[in-house]
Amino acid sequence: MDLVQMQKSLQDYTKSLFLEGILDSQFLQLQQLQDESNPDFVSQVVTLFFQDSDRILNDLSLSLGQQVVDFKKVDPHVHQLKGSSSSIGAQRVKNACVVFRNFCEQQNVEACHRCLQQVKQEYYLVKNRLETLFKLEQQIVASGGMIPAVELGF
């Protein structure tokens, strides 16, 4: 694939992430923060997000797997995940977390289990997509190209 084509497909791919609602404008914020002094900022933040979220999801699975669910433990985790997903613009994870928190408040164990599955699903989706995105970017950088600027106005 030549460079221009790769750049084009990266742009299209990024766009598709926004169109599918997987990402929102907050992700653009991250991209704006990435500059020469901090060229890997986005992937750093996102990697941190992945690590953090993996841990949280693990904890959540454990907490919800208990005989008696301690919602005081569950809720902060969900809050945490909601905060970080909102920070990186993982919109669908964030939305799933909002629903999750509502059921936490209601102490609805069954619904919480469902929500956890939903959150996981959304999380793996965004993880997968972002990893692909970074791979594409790496390919472009490797072939000496520039990461095309994200267009405003999404």
Binding site: S25, Q26, Q32, V45, G83, S87, A149, L152, G153
Partner: protein, 922 residues
Amino acid sequence: MVCEMETDQIEEMDVEVLSSMWPEDVGTEADKQFNVEKPAGDLDTLKEVTIEETPTIADLTRLPDLLNSTHQGTSQLTNLVKQWEYMQDNAVRLLREELKNLNRQREEAEAKELKIIEDYKFESNEPENLPVLDETSDLFRKFRQKKRDALVDSKKIEIDEEFDTVAYWKQKALSLEKMLKASTERERRLVEKLHESLKTMESHAAPVQELTQNLKRAEGFLHFILQNAPIVMGHQDKDLRYLFIYNKYPSLREQDILGKTDVEIFHGGGVKESEDFKREVLEKGKASKREITFTTDLFGSKTFLIYVEPVYNKAGEKIGINYMGMEVTDQVVKREKMAKLREDNAVRKAMESELNKTIHITEETMRAKQMLATMSHEIRSPLSGVVGMAEILSTTKLDKEQRQLLNVMISSGDLVLQLINDILDLSKVESGVMKLEATKFRPREVVKHVLQTAAASLKKSLTLEGNITDDVPIEVVGDVLRIRQILTNLISNAIKFTHDGHVGIKLQVISEPSFASDNSLNADAEVDNNLTETSVWIRCDIYDTGIGIPENALPCLFKKYMQASADHARKYGGTGLGLAICKQLVELMGGQLTVTSRVNEGSTFTFILPYKVATSDDYSDDQDEFSDMTDHQSEPDDTTEGYFQFKPLLGSIYSNGGPVIGNGFLPHKVMLTTSPIKLINGFVADPSNNTGQSEIVQVENGGYVDETKLETSSGHCPESAHQYENGNGRCFSKESESCSSSQASSEGGTLEMESELTVSSQREEEKAETNLKESSKPKILLVEDNKINIMVAKSMMKQLGHTMDIANNGVEAINAINRSSYDLVLMDVCMPVLDGLKATRLIRSYEESGNWNAAIEAGVDKEILENEQVCVRSTNRLPIIAMTANTLAESSEECYANGMDSFISKPVTLQKLRECLQQYLH
């Protein structure tokens, strides 16, 4: 038409000789279908045939006439005659052959007879009384010959008897009888043969029947072809009167048609055209086709394909036309549909390519804009450094020329900064990134400040005035920063183009304008604001008595980079972005910016904006700087004062001399708009008090003075002093709101050097503190437990040129605040250990009481706090900004209730951070 068919037949088949012949089954309906006159039989073969086949068929007085009188008719008849003749000839030929045969036989017989006679000469006198039938007929002669032969034979046989004896006669009689029998037999055979011959002759000799058969076939063919043909055929005479018509789907009776013209029969569209067409064909004598759409009462709108050919008589004169029509309405509709589809297709394609082009252009534009914005951003950071350094440089000892050069350098730098800020503003608005803040402010204050600012930098003898009607609320809610930006822009514009007279601002409440109802932006703004105030529309006029704007320049006035004319650009300078930004900002806030102007008389820029009216009961002291200032305003009438005037103070300005003179007023504006520190500078530079030594006193007094009361160094403004104290350490103006203000700050810096005293002023201390000794940055504390959020916020701060300390929860935050002094705290609300709300309450309690008792009570590590207790902090109110994921009104009220100054909704964006910093870091 009929005739044409016939001739065709003749030409093509040569044997199918046709007359006008109609299918049998239509015969019963002939009255309707064949609108042909009844037969009046004076036409030989045709007549016979017609009558024989279809007694009911219409015809044929006219048709025969036609057939007789036209070429087609003639040729048809000729053909018939020819064929008949041919058959007759054939019969004659056969008969002749037969005759020849018979003659030959007779000759043979005669020759034989002669021979016999020669052989038996004696018999020649034999009496001729033998039975003789006929002497005229050759046949009989033959018989006689044969008889003679027989006679001769019998004579020859029975000669042995005595002549003329009884036996002789008996014998002769017997033989004669035998001969007679044989003769009779022969005769019978001959008669048979004759009959046979007659029969064959008969079969050949019936041309009429032959013709009839041919005609039947032709008729069958025609019937086959025509019975379902959806066509109309007809013949019209020279005057285009119908003589004959055939219509598969008749709608008129024959008597309604025959003898009439089209025009007489039908009414409506197309009739005239068809008539003209027929006439044209008749005149030109050339057959042709045409499609005509009829719109008649009789059968609605129908399209016919019409073929018309002229008809000539034998003499070659035109006697009328034949015409044939076929309805093609459906086909025409389909064809038109196709054409339309094709056309639509073409149009769509064109539009598509046009759209593609537009998209391409838009994309390019977007990219270019993005590029411009990025570049601007990139340029701004180093440029800020350059200007900042230049400002610092200006505080050092310089000679006059160096100072002059430095001034130019700083003002140019400021101009570029302003330009870049404008571009960034514009791109923000255009890309929809710009968000509006809803804060409470006092319109009178704003107008006053803007005018004061303008007056301070005024270099002309202009009167500035502000007029606010009484119905304008004391406090309204809106984005005061942006409104100030608009006002400042418009005022400086007005001043720029006004050489004498006055410039002013007028505020009045108006009823909701018509454009507002369909303005969604306005609606959005209202939704954003959770407060329940009623809305009010305020009209703001910025008028001047300047050079005015020619009418032809008005349309492009609000366009980017456009000025009324190139001359103006040269003469007055400026980026040409100001008005475009104003317009976009006004529209962003759901208002409208318009202009009226008369050349040499002045211009009036008017913007109408909706505001929320703040209710007094939810008034709190955490509002923006302006309300903050007015809170402590000592003059009670100031909040409701509706008229300000700033008169020119020219004399004093020019008394100063030197390179700094022109900017003598600038510092005032700075002081009034942004920080009280600069206020001090203002006084330092104030021409009315140009002895530096008196400044400190005024500073101590916190001299916050209206320009109107400038002469008296009024100290009745303790609020400024208060602010001055508070302003400690956070007065460095990050981003000046307008070109002139940033210019002012730099000029202020320059002026500072004028007297040693100013150097020792608070600002100088601050500068020394922040710029030279330590880092020039304000100290910011981020209290947040989410690592990712920290990372993002930190990075954003970095991009905004700040660093931050981090605390992971409320307890850490309290410890950090206890350890060192911060200029701003960004506080997450929801945190483990100690949440943001509680932490804020504790910090406020500390600010009030000067000790951390409340915090210790709340369980925060006692020792640490107690250790630090030694250093009693000033009672500065530390700005604490909540960062909350919940943007509901409840939550924001909770934040306020717990002593927070403002809140940023999560996720944090650059824009939100920047605005927050602009508001809280000075």
